[in-house]
């Protein structure tokens, strides 16, 4: 059960007084926790941009660089959107990085039949692996951490197996490469696809019954069940969604790499989870924000770009990354986990 611990007997934040006002804020409605987190993240993003502009005025604040940042962000971004849905149900998907590799390879095996085959193959394979996760978790009652950890290993193994341990070259497939490097009205296709998924994800989460149900399952599974939400079906579906988006991410990545690499995506799931969490989606379920995830993804992408441009040694990069994550979380109101 992921709801708050039993209410304090009274005091700030406890029961409202006779007029329904929360004691302590004399009539002011508390701004929703999530909104504060989002504002804080915007602040972090702006701060990073300003620091970058100051430290590297010629090469950081250029439209070319922002395109590069957004393009790079699109792979993790697409994954993070799917992860937001999964985490909203109080679940987790540790397998997405490996599924990206496996889906890319799966697409690579059929790329000779055309770019559409690649895309279909990759997305389909990702969806399939995601549904295996969903089945284990929703119907097999396996804990999400364990089920997706197993899939992390299995998918990686499949990727290596199917590709015979070497990358599948996509140099010949202009169609697939378009996803990585092509443009639509001057904007890279990757960015457009990422934006589309983000917008679609937002609509799905906030303006459909399905989205409502997803968050309800994470917020209070029992209450959702009593209220008629088809809990198992919802849980099953979010993992499918995550897998499908992993397949799409594979297309974007392979297009840019011009190869389907079986070792791609290592540790990518941590970036996806990290972005969602610092964005405000709660690991305990019941609170999710696509805007926050998007901002979280941007924080990571801008950070990587800036630190690499500054040619900071790895050890410092790790420390700075950790500090920024901690900072982003601390600025937000302390939340109960």
């Amino acid at each position: 059960m992921s709801t708050s611990p039993t209410e304090q007997v009274s005091g700030v934040g406890g029961r409202a007084d006779g007029n329904g006002r929360p004691p302590g804020l004399a009539g002011l409605a508390l701004p929703s926790r999530i909104k504060l987190q989002e504002y804080a993240l915007v602040g972090v993003v702006l701060a990073l941009v300003v620091i970058g502009a100051v430290l590297k005025p010629d090469t950081f604040p250029t439209s070319d660089n922002f395109r590069a940042i957004l393009t790079q962000a699109s792979v993790v971004g697409v994954l993070a959107i799917g992860m937001t849905f999964v985490i909203a149900t109080a679940g987790i998907d540790l397998s997405v990085g490996s599924v990206v590799a496996a889906s890319g390879v799966a697409g690579g095996l059929v790329v000779d039949s055309g770019a559409a085959a690649f895309v279909g193959g990759a997305i389909g394979f990702g969806l399939g692996l995601g549904l295996v996760n969903g089945t284990a978790i929703a119907y097999g009652k396996v804990v999400p951490f364990v089920a997706t950890l197993a899939m992390l290993a299995i998918a990686r193994g499949l990727a290596l197996l199917m590709s015979d341990k070497s990358p599948i070259s996509l140099l010949g497939s202009d169609g697939v490469r378009w996803f990585g490097t092509g443009e639509i009205v001057g904007v890279p296709a990757s960015i457009i696809i990422f934006a589309g998924i983000a917008i679609g994800g937002w609509i799905l989460l906030n303006r459909t019954r399905y989205g409502r149900h997803v968050v309800a399952v994470g917020g209070n599974r029992e209450a959702a069940r009593i209220a008629g939400v088809p809990v198992r079906r919802v849980v099953f579906s979010v993992y499918g969604l995550s897998g499908l988006l992993a397949g799409l991410a594979a297309v974007l990545l392979s297009g840019r790499l011009a190869s389907a690499s079986p070792v791609a995506g290592e540790l990518l799931e941590l970036d996806a989870i990290g972005a969602a969490v610092i964005g405000g989606t709660s690991l305990a379920g019941g609170r999710a924000t696509i805007v926050g995830t998007f901002l979280g993804v941007m924080v990571f992408a801008i950070m990587f770009n800036l630190l690499t441009q500054l040619n900071l040694a790895t050890e410092w990069q790790q420390i700075v990354k950790g500090a920024i994550i901690l900072g982003a979380v601390l600025i937000q109101r302390p939340e109960r986990i």
Binding site: P167, L257, Q309
Partner: protein, 344 residues
Amino acid sequence: MSFSRQLIAGVAALGLIAAACSDDDDGDSAGAGGETEADTGTESSESGETVTIAASVPPTDHGWLGQIAAKAQEAADQWDDVEFRLVEAADADSQASQIQTLINEEPDALVVLPYDGEQLTPVAEQAMEAGIPVINVDRLFASPDAARATILGDNYEIGVKAAEFFAEQLDCEGNVVEIQGIAGISVTQDRTQGFADTIEELCGNGINIVAQQPADFLPDLGLEVMEAILQANDDIDAVYTHDDDMAEGIVAAIENAGREDEMILTGAGGSCAAFDRIEAGGLYAATYLYSPTMAGSAVNMARLIAQGRGFADLVEPEVPSQIVVPPTEVSQDTVADLRDLCFE
């Protein structure tokens, strides 16, 4: 305890000690440590007594390492007096435990390519103390007591040769980007040091290393790191990379940005994909053989050591303790001749 029980316990203990001692003797006569009679002058290809060789390698999840495992297996297969077992680890910690297990199986020789030489030195020393000769491949252990013999490519020399290559091609003037492998391991440190020392020696301040970042031997990481570096530097003359597989991603980044005419790039390892690119000419200018065949050689060495023999062509009766394979440069001139040596 009653007297009779003590007696039985004492006898049992003595028995165990006796058994352990005799085991050690067996081990010695099989050639552990190579101190007993060595067979001089016999052809290495002649069959000797059957020996068991165990091999421990890091996860063979990409080209070069995959080939390591394959070449080791190939070498073992050609001998009918070798029983061979290869174990693949996930990371440094599990490799240490796996080697522990292998030690308990008491093979006649142990071939190890450690995930990290420093971290695995203690367990290698343990194997040596247990009388099992260790053959160290590629990534060096930290202590000479950790291995009976070592075979590795010359990582430092790769750096030297690449530096010489760039010094010549760029006329000692320009900006160089270095993309390393996994930060912190000896391979990386040597390749970086060799390059830095030689560039300084040959060109002084003429050549600047404007960026130096690791990409873990992974092509997708290479892609992302290079993308950022391309943004930061609008005038790059050369890219020195530590690995051909990883370089594929770096090349993709450069080509996506349309800047392949601006610079030249070198790799390391000797993948056939790199050979193709070198042959085609342009961006990918050279690579340095760091052949996974050294794993096969390591198995051969292990066999000879276990059987108490030396190399046939050498006068000395024992297998040398260190073999350094020089990194042959593969450039457009030489790529055709060296074709046979590339790995997938």
